[in-house]
């Protein structure tokens, strides 16, 4: 009880200090704040991105061009962090062999729509909705240049579509569509796709992830379109890894590492 009192006091003090700090912030959307206009006497980074990113990369969505090109290194290792998180959960939870009890279940022909009424309703809805979700996920990945979206969001939505299958039926139904072997492969392949773009730029004599030099390989006329296309390739790699890891985390968490039955 006493610890709760102290915790409340600590939270109150920290919160008031943070709120006091907020009063020093520039106003929301202030064009003269250091983040927007740069430190006096030097060039503003955000101004450069706003003015030049379309000329540099021919990508209308500024966020995508910063994320996948100007800060491609950052995004690559974000993907690696997600991969490492998935592998850590795999290492902690996954139980290989030594099954607790082998329950022989009758293989049901179509377990989505067999069983009681609520299962029929949920199963049928999921069967109708999942293709739409997956198509939308691919759209989000591919259209990340022009609208909000990109590899992370699309990958999460694609992973969620497999999770929905696992929730509506059971984990095995989802694992039949994306098996353990395949999702680990998918995660690794995603990072390799990303790294490949970086290494190809290095092979052609530029810095790691400097896509502009890939123009002859991607059959484009000029470094701008090469950067745009490379960003798409990189986003696809991110989407692969995120899809696989999201589903892997769910599969291991929901079945206590047995990868059977699920919730």
């Amino acid at each position: 009880m006493l610890s709760k009192v102290f915790a409340t006091i600590a939270v109150a003090i920290t919160g008031s200090i943070l709120l006091y700090g907020v009063s020093d912030f520039p106003a929301f959307g202030d064009p003269h704040s250091p983040a927007n206009a740069g430190v006096p006497g030097s060039e503003s980074v955000s101004l450069y991105f706003i003015e030049e990113s379309y000329k540099d990369t021919k990508v209308p969505n500024l966020v995508t061009s910063v994320l996948a090109d100007y800060r491609g290194y950052d995004t690559m290792f974000e993907t690696v962090v997600i991969f490492a998180a998935g592998m850590a959960i795999f290492a902690i939870l996954r139980v290989v062999g030594n099954k607790e009890e082998e329950v022989s279940r009758e293989p049901v022909e179509n377990s989505f729509t067999n069983g009681d009424h609520s299962r029929i309703i949920v199963g049928t809805t999921v069967r109708i909705v999942v293709p739409v979700i997956q198509l939308f996920a691919l759209y989000v990945v591919a259209h990340g240049h022009h609208s909000p979206g990109g590899g992370f969001q699309g990958g999460v939505i694609l992973g969620a579509s497999f999770i929905i299958i696992a929730l509506a039926e059971n984990l095995n139904a989802a694992l039949r569509r994306l098996s353990e072997q395949n999702y680990v492969r998918l995660a690794v392949v995603g990072i390799f796709i990303y790294a490949l773009f970086g290494v190809m730029a290095q092979v052609l004599g530029r810095n790691f992830l400097d896509y502009g030099v890939l123009a002859p390989l991607l059959f484009t006329d000029g470094p701008e379109m090469a950067r745009s296309h490379s960003m798409l390739g990189v986003e696809v790699g991110v989407a692969f890894t995120v899809t696989a890891i999201m589903f892997a985390i769910y599969a291991n968490l929901s079945s206590r590492g047995q990868l059977e039955k699920g919730l």
Binding site: F28, G150, V156, A160, I163, L167, M246, L253, S254, L263
Partner: protein
């Protein structure tokens, strides 16, 4: 940026955060955490950070809620403190 809309979302946000911390049933806490994520997503979309809002909607409100529920089902449902 509409001031009244901001205030409404922020009030709901604080309420959702407090409820999800104080409720004893961990399943309800995870669901309310999902609502919290969705409110933050609304706030970001309203402030013009659509990409961030999109990520929060899919990760924060969607998948992480499911992961929390999966964890609750495999542990105990009641909070001990």
């Amino acid at each position: 940026m509409i001031f009244a809309f901001d205030i409404i979302i922020l009030v709901f946000l604080v309420v959702a955060a407090l409820i999800s911390l104080s409720v004893k049933d961990l399943l309800s806490a995870s669901m309310i955490y999902g609502i919290y994520g969705f409110l933050i997503c609304l706030l970001w979309a309203e402030m013009g950070a659509v990409d961030v809002a999109f990520t929060e909607a899919s990760v924060g409100a969607g998948v992480s809620t499911v992961l929390l529920i999966a964890t609750v089902f495999n542990t105990r449902r009641r909070s001990s403190d």
